[in-house]
Symmetry: C2
Subunit: 596 residues, 2 copies
């Protein structure tokens, strides 16, 4: 059972069509402009001198190559000569400055080459991991293999230093990512060394004496051998990249211990540590997973990259077994906590994605998340991650197992695949997530189509298997799945103390929020009326419906304390999709509201 | 209109009788033992040497003399020879080590006398202020004037340095308190220099160039001339000590500008910045007043000393005008956020008084309030403040204006006073706050008694003037005021975003809380049933009733998110007086609950 390559899915107009176009027309340039301004591309020349502006940073290479990876995906679908020329120039800079032994890292080559591979906490292997992914994507898109040759040489060096010589002062990288990249590389090269190196990093992690010198902490997933992990913990982005690699290796090696660990981790995240928006890494201190059910709202972290990496983990898990829960999580991430990281104009980003903004509180707080999206961060991992994720958004849409096809995500699209050894075409026609009607049309040899029935669709009446509706399709067949899409009020577990007495509003996969700019001050005092009027409106500039609900709030008073009373002021609340928050002026925002 | 001296009020059995006995029998010794162990008394010998244990601290003198002040009050009511002997010894140490010019501070005399009066942020004048109060109390209680003579000499030195020479690098003290102490001193000595010095510190504050070098901040009330203050701000204890002095001076000087400022500040505190428990200083960062309506629960500061100093401010204000609002605030403080600072066994203390304890949250938080009372703090201003406040608790019970007497606080007691130039006796017979029935019996010349009708008593039907019920009493009269004492659910202003949808339970002056130890986990998920059964129980060891209310909570579930549903598990919630929280094992606690 394998995820169908995203290149097989051609998006048409619709929700993801909107973002696909936005990415190609705006986002990729917006990130490029910021990286150019901040010297990230220049850094590849490795000629920065002390006293010059834009001192290279240890993770800059990863920013650049993630952007390249996104450009490669875009290029593969439709030629983008101007971007390709720029990427070629960057790759040439890398090739020109790569050391004879294969080493490349613009930070160390500019600042102090003698210090390479001395600091476990630095991001050298993380940068290489992303470079591997970019190289694979660019080679596939353009046929050009200069970057791939560079990284192959670099991987050989890493294998020599870490596996053969064991000459570095640490054994596994402080910031994971290379593991999953090596496994992607192995898929293409089938070079056993690439698999062995990934396996080495995974097997050594959390059980190696040398790494202890750099701290034996959960923060870097360094506290237990990975097969013993029972709880997701530590830095959420690192964790989910690692869990993704663990799932990949578990499948490659048919490793039951790793599989069991992956199942435990997925269960722990999705049953205890997942924001209703699909965000993970609730604790801003250390950007970490918090304890079970601790999902604060205004000071949550929920980094965009963490949501992306969770989707990647779920995407690998859905190759392990047919179960709709993986697609459910990916959908929750995609339509909420991932896409919230990007402004509707495609030019600005969020690094963290809070579920509540209270600007007065922030003004006195030691933790002060940004309340308005910005064009660039000093730590700018998220924007290029958005570019590459958007450019490959159908990556987990389908899973194929012989003549059985699982449709995990709904996207207005035309998909080519191979059934019974012959080409086949499966189209989805849908306005999802505006409504829940999806019509599949099929041309090809007979096949079985399993369509995910989302966890939110409790009104669905048909039979399901592991959360999928089953259809046998022959050439020329079409079938329509109509998912009732009601407005739901969602409660969280009683152990989540932040949301007691409060509810999230969700319609289809979209979680909603209220902004002060629409609903006035004191958002936490608003009560939505469950039996009140509801209007679902499609509005210019927001690619999913806006909700208008009858609501009420307490009247203004000059008393600090009063006797409980039932006097309320009615009004119509405007709820916008969570992902669309903070696209106007600065405003308080709230997801979890009172409902009666 | 003057507050009747507390020495005129003899407490009998009852709520304050309980605490009076506890103070005399336990609290005073508990604080003594801790101060002895930590070297605070030894420090008065000023012979500490580098390398020895128990290095003196800049504020230790204030701890010791506040304890002395408490002992003096206890001694005045009933001789305590063993304490008196110890205090005499301490005072002798002070006298022996006082410099010829009058200076005394055990920290500077031990560590580096040359540095005296160089650091505005240090607490020299604060220590002197408390010493003045102790000296006045001890002289009055025992007739012994050694300490008073010491402080008089020291005050002369301070006058010389600060007013005449202006030779210190700062003009007003970083930590206020001396201002109110000097005004108390002036009341006794009628020495104009004492009044002038207090007036100097008050008039110079916030408008002196020299002080700017130490920071022009609201934290130390150094940002505006005091007559221009419109909002309470900065460190709450310092602020309220200062406001107390401002009110005293405003009355002494009939200073309209100061009076207006005091009225604005009192309004600002009580209308925007007062916890329902009477706590102030909501922001633990800097122990400060926060912005209007910001009254967080689990991470509030609400230092015991801040509650005490607010009661002092209100106590001075109630001499300015007949208005029950001052007695209301004092009552809220006394029965809640002040007495919560002391354990029921009289041996342990709280420095901060949160309205919610969530130990799991604290475990990951940068701010970690203690969740169990402790015997001593390194910064131990609160415990001796509790001793002296308890020993003088009827201080603001009555205000007298000729033959008009205002009863502001209810205490089972016998009070002597002078009406029409003759001795009179007014007794209160009451179980307050167990119930609201107070019987006054009077012997003396005709007088008018105004009895405060508390703000919580919305069911009271009689006529009131400025919140007082009026009675004309002649010799032998008695009158009973019966305040209906219902259980109330209190809501806070909609601008207080922390408490939207939540209510405080209050009966009479007592605010209630739930503890996990009684009510299980997830206190924030409990909903009290407004129309359910209610039982009011008197229980051993808690000097105010306990409440049992029908309640419900959501059933346990293994789902992180569910559709809103009405399934609830009924149970009987046990609510204890807020002041009694944290007297058993460590437990989560909650004041603001859901009610339906």
């Amino acid at each position: 059972m394998k995820n169908l390559e995203f290149q097989n899915v051609k998006l048409k107009d619709g929700f993801w069509g909107f973002y696909d176009r936005l990415n190609r027309e705006t986002v990729v340039k917006s990130v490029y402009d910021r990286f150019l301004e901040t010297g990230r591309f220049d850094a590849l020349r490795c000629d920065w001198k002390e006293g010059s502006p834009n001192k290279p940073h240890i993770f800059w290479d990863s920013d650049v190559v993630k952007w390249m990876e996104g450009v490669a995906y875009l290029t593969e679908q439709k030629s983008e000569p101007q971007w390709e020329a720029l990427v070629d120039e960057m790759i040439q800079n890398i090739a020109d400055n790569q050391r004879a032994d294969g080493y490349f890292n613009s930070y160390y080559l500019s600042i102090d080459p003698s210090k390479r591979f001395t600091n476990r906490g630095h991001h050298e292997l993380y940068c290489l991991g992303h470079a591997i992914e970019a190289a694979l994507a660019y080679q596939r898109a353009t046929g050009k293999d200069l970057l791939l040759n560079c990284v192959l040489k670099y991987v050989d060096l890493v294998y020599k230093i870490f596996v053969e010589e064991q000459s570095a002062p640490f054994v596994t990288p402080g910031h994971e990512e290379i593991e999953l990249a090596l496994l992607k590389l192995y898929e293409v090269t089938k070079n056993q060394k690439h698999l062995d190196l990934a396996r080495f990093f995974i097997n050594q992690r959390g059980c190696n004496e040398k790494d202890l010198a750099f701290g034996y902490t959960e923060h870097t997933q360094n506290h237990l051998p990975l097969r013993e992990l029972a709880e997701a913990g530590g830095h959420a982005v690192r964790a989910c990249y690692l869990y993704t690699a663990m799932a990949m290796l578990a499948k490659t090696d048919d490793d039951e211990g790793l599989k069991a660990a992956c199942h435990r981790l997925f269960h722990d995240i999705t049953n205890y540590k997942l924001s209703v928006t699909g965000g993970v890494g609730a604790d801003h201190r250390g950007e970490e997973f918090s304890y079970k059910y601790d999902l604060p709202n205004s000071d949550t972290y929920n980094e965009t990259c963490a949501a992306i990496s969770l989707a990647m983990f779920a995407g690998e898990m859905q190759e392990m077994e047919a179960d709709s829960k993986y697609g459910d999580v990916i959908e929750r991430v995609y339509y909420n906590g991932f896409i919230s990281g990007l402004s509707l104009d495609g030019e600005k980003f969020f690094y963290t994605n809070p579920l509540e903004i209270d600007r007065k509180k922030y003004a006195r707080s030691t933790y002060q998340p940004i309340c308005e999206r910005v064009k660039v961060f000093s730590c700018s991992c998220c924007p290029p991650n958005v570019v590459r994720m958007l450019a490959s958004i159908p990556r987990y849409a389908y899973t194929v197992d012989g003549d059985t096809v699982y449709c995990n995500q709904f996207m207005n699209s035309e998909t080519t695949l191979s059934i019974g050894g012959k080409d086949a075409v499966l189209t989805q026609t849908t306005n999802y997530p505006n409504d829940g009607k999806i019509t599949f049309r099929y041309q090809g040899e007979p096949m079985t189509l399993f369509v995910r029935i989302p966890d939110w669709c409790v009104e669905y009446q048909g039979a399901t298997e592991k959360g999928f509706a089953k259809f046998n399709l022959s050439d020329g067949d079409s079938v329509t799945v109509d998912l009732p899409m009601e407005v739901h009020f969602i409660e969280s577990n009683p152990y989540n103390q932040d949301n007691s007495g409060r509810y999230a509003v969700q319609r289809g996969p979209i979680v909603y929020c209220m902004e002060e700019i629409d609903n006035g001050e004191n958002l936490r005092d608003v009560t939505l009326l469950e039996q009140g009027n509801l209007r679902i409106a499609t509005e210019e500039g927001i690619p999913a419906p806006v909700l208008y609900l009858d609501a009420e709030r307490r009247p203004a008073t000059d008393r600090l304390y009063s006797l409980k009373n039932e006097t309320r002021v009615p009004f119509t609340a405007r709820l916008i999709p969570y992902f669309a928050f903070a696209n106007r002026e600065a405003s308080d925002m709230l997801v979890w509201t009172m409902v009666k």
